[in-house]
């Protein structure tokens, strides 16, 4: 009797989970299906839920020729810009943070705590709350429409600094003593001991920071003025603007799929590292 009930309960649980999975993935599925149709089949409701025959054709068009709505900029250029920006942000954040954490944990120097609090304050200043003045600073340095202008204002990271600080503190001090006895200076210790030990942390954090960089929207919108510097996520804004006048939902959805594909693939392939990075970076 009890066995029978628990079997029913398990089946019921799976039914709910599958339904929920369907709801959660349906928007992505429909985007994928829509991107395989031609414009004619999307003019009237109800639109088809299955795949059409224009898949390769649509993707070829948006990737290599571009849409008029996007200023004729091929999507591969935007993907390239997004990739460069995301890599600069991810590498930049990790280098800058691991250096800062190293200085704070392994040295004692005047103003150390002051610097620590300065870094802490960046937590409270997301780009959304300082958009106009940050734009003015970047414009003064003539960094508008450059990869550095896209990435530098997002590179400081209190989260990553704290994470490395926490991690360095768990490294037994005997290691440092041993390194010292062997005559290793601060640079040697950093390069030969600290960096290799931080490998997993760096990898996990890299994934999180890469996704963060790739998915940036507001800042690229302000920091670029020409189409050939625009990133794929901010390119959506131009498509969104015309979506109601010129119905080209097949191309819009193809672009959206291309924009979300890299992060989705990263999460699926590097799932364990991703989860670790996400949970670690909030401690």
């Amino acid at each position: 009797m009890i066995k029978h009930r628990s079997l029913l309960l398990t089946i019921g649980t799976h039914v709910i989970l599958v339904l929920w999975l369907f709801i959660m993935l349906f928007p992505i599925y429909l985007a994928l299906a829509t991107s395989s149709h031609n414009e004619q089949s999307l003019l009237h409701a109800p639109i088809p839920l299955s795949f059409g025959h224009h898949f390769l054709q649509n993707y070829k068009l948006v990737l290599f020729h571009g849409l008029n709505a996007l200023g004729g900029i091929p999507v591969w250029v935007m993907l390239k810009n997004s990739l460069i920006m995301a890599l600069l942000i991810a590498f930049g954040k990790i280098i800058v943070s691991i250096f800062a954490a190293y200085a704070i944990v392994y040295f004692r120097f005047p103003l150390r705590m002051f610097f620590f609090w300065l870094i802490f304050m960046t937590l409270m200043l997301p780009v959304e709350v300082r958009i106009v003045p940050t734009f003015q600073v970047v414009a003064e340095f003539h960094l508008i429409d450059s990869y550095w202008g896209l990435s530098l204002p997002l590179i400081a990271s209190a989260t990553a600094t704290f994470l490395f600080r926490q991690f360095f503190r768990t490294i037994p001090s005997e290691l440092l003593e041993a390194a010292r006895v062997d005559g290793a200076g601060p640079l040697r210790f950093f390069l030969d001991i600290l960096l290799p030990l931080s490998r997993t942390n760096i990898a996990a954090l890299f994934i999180i920071m890469f996704l963060y960089g790739w998915n940036q929207y507001l800042w690229p919108l302000l920091a670029t003025t020409t189409g050939d510097m625009s990133t794929i996520v901010m390119g959506m804004q131009r498509l969104a603007n015309i979506a109601d006048q010129i119905p080209q939902w097949n191309y819009i959805m193809a672009t959206a799929i291309l924009a979300l594909l890299p992060p989705v693939v990263i999460i699926i392939v590097l799932q364990k590292l991703f989860v670790r990075g996400l949970i670690d970076s909030e401690k």
């Binding site: 999975l21 429909l30 999307l42 409701a45 960046t122 200043l125 001090s173 969104a240 109601d244």
Partner: protein
């Protein structure tokens, strides 16, 4: 903790972070603070000191309060629904043995989708002319047009935000559910507690630090990370029905060229972030006590 002694090296290591922080974080924040006391023309040629008038105009304007109120409503709806759904689904996933990894991998996918992309996906589903959801609603006799109906527009950005933020909450709930010792639940079972009693008296109290943390994170998300959703779905409309504070600070500053007012809004937003960050760190301290 043994340390290195070196006069210059620590400054060399900490310099990049400090330079970026000063140039792109502290300096703009101070500029916003200063600008909030000035009236500036659209070309930035002239500005004169007007004291607290930017704040005064802001707090006296109905549209700013409206923006604050709908943002509060929005964050409450998003936070509560996301938490509830994520906890429910995480509990179910934690129960099942088969396919549990599969469910987990697929359910965290929306986290990978940028808010702006999430916005466009949901906008397509609810497009008044050809959206699938609008079509189903019309079959049920409900007229859906979020371009004209403010309430519907608000519901639409809520749905997109909940969809996106669900994954993050789900992931944290699954992680903390797995951290609960099985022996505790077994002990409760032996004492005759049923599924509900085990949930409310054992699991829920143990989850409370995670729940509180996620509540704060969800509010921060709703306040600051939803710019992309608002811009791709509604652009604040119709009739300001979805003009959330983070969108307003952008549209007043960049589209309306009202730098003083935008700066004053930035300062108010900073105060809100500071408040939320302090809340979050009090949680972090609490967690240390538990362990």
């Amino acid at each position: 903790m043994p340390i290195f002694r070196n006069r210059y090296l620590p400054y060399f290591f900490i310099a990049p972070q400090i330079i970026v922080t000063l140039l792109f974080f502290i300096w703009p924040a101070l500029t916003a603070f200063r600008q909030s006391f000035f009236l500036q023309d659209a070309f930035g040629l002239k500005h004169h000191f007007i004291g607290l008038k930017n704040y005064y105009f802001l707090l006296a304007s109905g549209s700013y309060w409206h923006s604050i109120l709908i943002t509060l409503l929005f964050s409450a709806v998003v936070a509560v629904f996301t938490l509830g759904l994520a906890l429910f689904i995480a509990t179910l996933v934690n129960r099942v043995v088969r396919f549990s990894t599969g469910y987990r991998v697929l359910l965290i996918l929306p986290y990978a989708v940028a808010p702006a992309i999430a916005g466009i996906l949901w906008r397509f589903l609810f497009n008044p002319a050809i959206g699938i959801c609008s079509y189903v609603l019309s079959l049920l006799g409900y007229h859906w047009n979020y371009l004209l109906n403010g309430k519907q527009a608000f519901i639409l950005i809520c749905i997109a935000a909940i969809w996106q933020q669900f994954s993050y909450n789900f992931l944290f709930f699954v992680a903390s559910l797995q951290a609960i010792p099985k022996s505790l639940l077994e002990a409760a079972s032996i004492d005759g507690a049923n599924v509900w009693q085990r949930f409310w008296h054992v699991i829920w109290p143990l989850l409370s630090p995670t729940t509180f943390f996620l509540l704060v994170i969800n509010v921060i998300y709703a306040f600051f990370d939803t710019f992309g959703i608002v811009q791709t779905v509604t652009q604040g409309g119709p009739a300001n029905a979805t003009n959330l504070v983070v969108y307003k600070v952008y549209s007043d500053g960049f589209l309306g060229m009202n730098y003083g007012s935008s700066a004053a809004q930035s300062v108010i937003l900073m105060l809100i972030v500071i408040f939320l960050t302090v809340l979050q760190f009090r949680y972090a301290e609490k967690k240390v006590h538990y362990q």
